[in-house]
């Protein structure tokens, strides 16, 4: 699984990109976010208010129940502010 972080989520987590083997307790977006929060204070801080967090799996916006498979590209970022 490839993880990408953008904007202030990237800044708080301290990296733009990482690769993992899918942990056994992760099967959807919710469980992925829960697992990430436990990885350190930067993650916990970045993910403390999930109202300000958006997730895309394989470049499509998804909700908390969306399944996660090994090999997925998962991006985590704040609401967009382009245009």
């Amino acid at each position: 699984m490839r993880l990408l972080y953008f904007a202030w989520l990237r800044a708080k987590i301290g990296t733009a990109e990482e690769e993992f083997d899918l942990p056994s307790e992760v099967n959807d977006v919710s469980s992925l976010l829960l697992w990430l929060k436990s990885r350190g204070p930067g993650y916990a801080e970045a993910l403390k208010d999930l109202k300000t967090v958006r997730v895309a799996v394989n470049q499509d916006y998804v909700g908390p129940e969306h399944p996660i498979h090994d090999g997925d590209e998962v991006a985590i970022f704040p609401p967009v502010t382009g245009g």
Partner: protein, 153 residues
């Protein structure tokens, strides 16, 4: 057509290209977004636009396809810049061409509203107290919701 680029663009040339050689087109509507010198009450020195390469192009293409599904367009264009930009600089150009002015105007409005809430770009501003990430405007979400409520033509 969509383009995501660091460089500036030539508005006159882009709009001209959109209708050139197609005398069916009766109207070209466009919107240019510019960097403002104020943000959250503070003077802004510059802003930096970050984006998600790959997903950006995908989302802009989806938005353009949806506009073409809703209105009879002969041509459309979205150019969005990324990188560091200063007040007065162009950020985005959205343009639509149609035999009918109502279609061109509505589709242009739709594209910029939708792009604001769907395309994965993030702005950070250089303000007097340092760099900070721009927050979403709830008006932007409402503008897109309005279009979602009117899916049919």
């Amino acid at each position: 057509m969509i383009r995501v680029q660091r460089e500036d663009f030539d508005v006159g040339a882009e709009l001209e290209k959109l209708s050139r050689g197609n005398p069916r087109i009766g109207g070209v509507a466009s919107f240019i977004g510019l960097v403002r010198d104020m943000g959250g009450g503070d003077k802004i020195e510059a802003l930096t636009l970050e984006h998600y390469p790959g997903m950006t192009e995908r989302k802009l293409t989806e938005i353009e396809v949806e506009a073409n599904r809703r209105w009879p367009l002969d041509a459309s264009l979205i150019i969005h810049r990324y990188g560091r930009l200063e007040p007065g600089d162009r950020i985005v150009l959205v343009a639509t061409a149609s035999p009918h002015r109502e279609a061109a105007l509505a589709a242009c409005h739709f594209l910029i509203d939708w792009l604001k809430t769907d395309a994965p770009f993030w702005k950070s501003e250089e303000a007097p107290k340092g760099e900070r990430w721009v927050a979403t405007r709830s008006e932007d979400d409402e503008a897109t919701q309005k279009w979602k409520a009117t899916k049919e033509r």
